[in-house]
């Protein structure tokens, strides 16, 4: 079985990130290329952080999702160059993150506002958080701690 490249992109957009299931692997910007190499579908995936344990799970999830759609010959390729950047998060991905309670990356080096109450009075608790891609912040108004998606 074969499918159009744009169809495959749509399918991939339904594969959730295992750590942040509210966004898809396409939203995350880690799918770098989808192409057919004769009868084999080639999917290039880039890791977010070099040691991110989710990377292996993501490759497995992608393969499972494509097999479920009837594709048989699939090659998942790791591509590290150019390195992943949070600039590749899609607009819809950023909006979904914020709605989920994770402040999206901001070039200022910290979250623009609290994802819960919208206050701009926020302070950093720790440069690292629950996954390699996040830092830990707190709102000084509503006092809720929240995750901030680090900007790299």
């Amino acid at each position: 079985m074969t499918a159009s490249v744009s169809q495959v992109w749509q399918w991939l957009d339904q594969v959730p990130d295992p750590e942040i299931p509210v966004i898809s692997v396409v939203d995350l910007g880690i799918i770098r290329d989808v192409s057919w190499d004769e009868d084999t579908l080639d999917v290039a995936v880039t890791p977010t952080y070099s040691g991110c344990p989710a990377t292996t799970v993501i490759s497995m999830d992608i393969e499972t999702a494509l097999r479920d759609r009837g594709l048989e010959k699939i090659r998942i390729r790791t591509q590290i160059s150019p390195p992943w950047t949070t600039d590749w998060l899609t607009e819809s991905g950023r909006a979904k993150l914020e709605k989920y309670g994770i402040a999206p990356p901001s070039p200022g080096g910290g979250p623009e506002k609290c994802p819960q109450c919208g206050s701009k009075r926020v302070s950093k608790i720790s440069q690292f958080g629950s996954t390699p891609c996040k830092a830990h912040w707190r709102c000084d108004d509503c006092l809720e701690p929240f995750d901030y998606f680090k900007c790299i």
């Binding site: 890791p47 040691g51 590290i80 160059s81 440069q127 690292f128 629950s130 390699p132 790299i152």
Partner: protein
Amino acid sequence: MSHALFETLLRLGDNTLILGHRVGEWCGIAPVLEEDIALANMALDLIGQTQMWLALAAEIEGKGRSADDLAMLRDAWDFRNVLLVEQPNGDFGQTLMRQFLFDQFHLLQLQALTDSSDQRIAAIAAKAVKEVTYHLERSSDTVIALGDGTSESNSRMQTALNKLWPYAGEMFVTDPIDLESVEAGIIPDPSTLRDAYMDAAEKVFKLAHLAPPEGNFAHSGGKTGFRHSEHLGHLLTQMQWMQRAYPGAQW
């Protein structure tokens, strides 16, 4: 050339592997939860970088070994990490001092490696440099916070610096293996990174009210594998025990 390239890649991968393991030893026992998570995250980045360096090393060597084989089945004398990264964690301050001393070098090294004539090395460096920029930001902030903290934290940081500073010099020694890779445009000459390192380190020490001990004595023997400190063997007994006890065991 391929021998020098293999050794060069081992030096890169063994530094991140051994430091990653050391930092990982804090997992679950760090002074506060946030620090525990931060240390585990950094260890994870370092192990991830190790996978890329050692996979490339194994491929260059061409003897059918994998990155895992290189990490888990070599003995102490075959490791090529600098002595600094195998030094024990000590207290939290000593761990962060070791981290700062390495991060500052690591960042300068990776920045230069992004221009390597070897495209694959440049690509790994471009990936790692982003993570290490973040590591250095944190380790320098923490060294400053602890050095400029209480008299107790200042004195512990000074003790850590006195202990670890003699291990910093090895990072800037250029040997014949390095020279071969330098001439091929693969790596920067380590000795050329020293000035920028000293400038950056001095700024941090000044803000932290710390001073490195006088003298230029530097321990050596790690990156050449000539003489590791006794700590590396003990570290390997922990890191490698599973593959030693159950050869070929799979996850």
